[in-house]
Symmetry: C2
Subunit: 554 residues, 2 copies
């Protein structure tokens, strides 16, 4: 590592949507920006969460001057407990007050004490090793979102985090474009910007658009109203509360994360609610349907969320019925479409009416569209551009946008996780690849790659398993009991008894063959049994269940 190079190493968020995490390094000092997670795909069977592989940091833990979190969303904050547990709870963590409150609540759940969290306000400057750090207020779908400017001897770089240029944000605090422009005038070396909506032309609608539309939708509803949105979208909940007030409805918060986030938001003054507005779920029965709005988690069709349980008639407190209207004030994150559609269809089956962002503009994305990405580029006028937060498509499109506002193609670096960009006075280039990838959270075992377990599970889930137990004599290797055969997850064949008899025959043949060849070692015997049986089962069933032979010597 040359002392004179600034290194920017993305460990997550490039070539994917989610688990954003970046290592910035200069002169032996490391600053980590964001520690996000991802939710597993359907192929990652039985996995609870996906974290960035932070092996690179394990060997460099002592050099970490601090972790800076741009905002409180899971894909920027969620991996923090695992990272602090592995690398040391004494690493200082910085971020806006709401972000730090959400981090604290998360660390508490993981029983991590004695952590070092510091609230930073926009405009404040931190000195972290070789870096001067400044947080710059931007707008997003959660309050307290801040871009991170990191300055070292080589120059200043800006990691935007997630942003949009909302000119009329609900809290009246637009992005600090003036400071962004100043960075541009001072000469920004590198911009690492959000690519999430690099495929959408124009400007994103303001969050304030949702409020009046929610109010109009509420006005058309006669029965109970259920609104579902992200629990962290505090401004959206504010707008729901305001619309409820206009129509004389009380508000019920349902879902643990919804109540938790709204509590934090109220405590920090991000949400303004009159006393008496909120009603406890069990008191809600005392109010007529047309006097209630239920705000619920589950906008993504998550299996255990409140709304999903309501749709499956399985929620302990809320029973939906004909006349209720369910309002989806969120869009599906790619990959969740099927779960969301399934939830919506069950709501229709119950007899509810359903209103989504397709029916009325009750949702505004938190990520800037193409014109906003260009505005960011034009404000900050970076020498180099490295698009962040996007799959390869969006990174590619962000690169095109940069070129369209005049950044030379050779100054646009379309990166990948694990590929460090190295910058010095002479220029910028990708360095040699570092370890990056995924680690899984799977039950209590934390942070260990469990690829083998995962591959096994995928095999088990495709075709099931045959377990075969052969008991042989320690003296001469002869069978001393009938082989036991158990199968699970294998489609029950029509003539199961016949098949089992045939498999017993195949085992006996296989053991006799092994005896003739004087194979006595248990491991080798098991291998022979495995190969013979796998072939036999495939020939008969045309499937490849896992075949697990157990040879017991007595």
């Amino acid at each position: 590592m040359a002392k004179s190079k600034l290194r920017v190493l993305p460990l997550g968020g490039l070539g994917e949507i989610g688990k954003n995490m970046t290592v910035v390094e200069y002169d032996g000092s490391i600053v980590v920006v964001d520690t996000g997670l991802r939710f597993p795909t359907a192929e990652q069977v039985g996995i609870d969460l996906v974290l960035p592989d932070f092996t690179y940091l394990r060997e460099r833990a002592d050099d970490i001057e601090g972790i800076v979190i741009t905002h409180g969303h899971e894909d920027h904050l969620g991996a923090l407990p695992w990272i602090l547990r592995e690398l040391g709870t004494d690493i200082p963590v910085y971020g806006g007050p709401l972000t730090m409150a959400m981090a604290r609540s998360k660390l508490d759940e993981h029983r991590l004490k004695d952590t070092d969290l510091t609230d930073v306000r926009p405009g404040e400057t931190l000195e972290l090793g070789a870096f001067d750090i400044e947080l710059i207020h931007l707008t997003h779908s959660i309050p307290d979102m801040m871009a991170v400017a990191l300055t070292c001897d080589v120059g200043t770089m800006l990691i935007t985090g997630d942003y949009k240029f909302d000119q009329t944000p609900v809290d009246g605090k637009p992005a600090d474009v003036s400071r962004l422009a100043e960075l541009g005038r001072e000469g920004l070396l590198l911009l690492c910007g959000d690519s999430t909506n690099a495929d959408r032309p124009g400007f994103s609608p303001s969050e304030s658009v949702a409020g009046p539309n929610l109010e109009a939708v509420f006005g058309r509803c006669e029965g109970r109203i259920v609104v579902t949105c992200f629990a962290s979208n505090i401004h959206r909940v504010q707008q729901v509360v305001d619309a409820a007030k206009v129509h004389g409805r009380r508000v019920v918060l349902v879902g643990r994360s919804m109540r938790k986030n709204i509590n934090i938001g109220r405590m920090l003054g991000h949400i303004d609610v009159e006393d008496g507005t909120f009603v406890q779920p069990r008191e809600a029965r005392d109010f007529p349907d047309h006097k209630l709005v239920i705000v619920s988690t589950g906008s993504q069709g998550e299996p255990l969320s409140a709304l999903r349980r309501m749709a499956h008639r399985d929620h302990p407190q809320v029973e939906l019925h004909k006349g209720d209207t369910v309002v989806f004030a969120a869009t599906s994150i790619p990959g969740n479409e099927r779960a969301v559609n399934d939830t919506i269809d069950r709501l229709y089956h119950i007899g509810c009416d359903v209103i989504t962002a397709r029916d009325a503009p009750i949702h505004a994305s938190g990520h800037g569209y193409q014109e906003e990405i260009k505005l960011m580029l034009n404000l900050t006028r970076p020498k180099y551009v490295m698009p962040f937060h996007g799959d390869y498509k969006r990174i590619h499109l962000h690169g095109q946008l940069a070129e369209s506002v005049g950044v030379p193609a050779e100054n646009v670096f379309k990166g990948e996780n694990g590929l460090p960009l190295e910058l010095d006075g002479d220029g910028a280039a990708f360095g040699s690849r570092e370890r990056a990838g995924m680690i899984y959270v799977d039950g209590v075992d934390i942070g260990d790659p469990t690829d083998v377990a995962l591959r096994d599970r995928r095999m088990l889930s495709a075709d099931g398993i045959f377990v075969v137990v052969a008991t042989i004599s320690e003296q001469d290797g002869s069978s001393v009991a009938d082989p036991e055969i158990i199968f699970r997850g294998v489609p029950y064949p029509e003539d199961a008894e016949g098949l089992l008899g045939d498999i017993r025959g195949a085992i006996t043949q296989s053991l006799e063959k092994a005896a003739r060849e004087e194979i006595r070692e248990v491991d080798l015997l098991q291998q022979v049994l495995h190969d013979d049986l796998a072939k036999f089962v495939y020939d008969r069933l045309r499937r490849r269940p896992m075949v697990l032979p157990v040879v017991v010597e007595v």
Copy 2:
């Protein structure tokens, strides 16, 4: 079954998208309209295909006068081989010439011979038992789509199949609105219409819109072009061929089903291609990139499709590279979004440009939008309406459309699979529920419900499996060998050896306890071991792998 009632029993296609199948019954005669299938969801692990449960027909096979297929798509035709195999290959099957050619090709693949397929042309009338049947030409995304009018003593009903009112179809044959209007004037009893796009306002764009847009897109491409669309969308392929011709490009067909369908389409005159247009995949290397268009399967990101393999750099004949443009002339079917996005992102990673229907109007849906559904209702003026082909949401919306054109709410029947609508001179009402649901195709075993296997696989896929083998003496039940413990798909614990030792201890304790309680029956012993170990493993790992104890007596 009252002799005087017309019964309409949907076995598939209601409350879901896919596996459309309807039983129509009068006076002891049964006509089946469509025999569709569905593709499994991610939760249906290891399942190959989903068919409608046609148990109801097993007992009534002798009463089936015929099966009528509206068109050749999998969700209307795909289950035919299984149904004929189970109910008798002598059941006559009727449909348009293309539909029957596709059915024949499918039955051949299943080695079903001596089947009885009859081509029916629009306007022809069939007499099937108590029914007069007429097929009426409509437009869709495959040629030869025909609605089915069934007339018995009670009156005439119409099953639309999938349709749109394309005023400028590629083959110049618009829907036979005149015959539909005539049915309306004669007095239609019941309309069972397509609900697929009941959530889209307005009119669907004509298929002919795609052609000029494809031509324009091709004009902007400098390198090779890969177009992906449904293999059955013969008119779309025609338009690709025409656009290729304009730009002096040859056409390569890639993917087995693409070649098969285009062959059938050419033989029946549905596609018009000059000799020398098509080039074999292995000859394609002799042409420069700008002289080629590859037409490929894989528009839905299907795992083994040609395009998916190209995107994973795993196709034997086509290697994509920077400069190639991949054109998605199809949209994602709900549920396939993730697979499609993954394919697109890999294409970007290779350096290809990707154009989807979001970027240019190169796709037109084959299903009519709201105004077309209303037009169908106004043309046929049915007394009763039973929306078909849709999840509960779309069926609900289709019902609203019917009411909006004046059908009284009490004459709209929002049905479910297995719920027969019964009609006679006095009126219409749902009868008592019949068996309906899904059956799975899973390896060679066909048509058997394998819910147990599926549940087992889901469990295996979530947490893996522990197999424990205890060998005991037949005489006194004492242990005669160390217990064997094997786990698969369980996240490898950090201290695996220690855990295994502890489990052995737990087994020994469990066996000793059983001995004290004089439990000697192997089944009971296995139950005790299972319960004790499942608890032990959960306490230690906080996961619930399947625990499979095997007790061997020697």
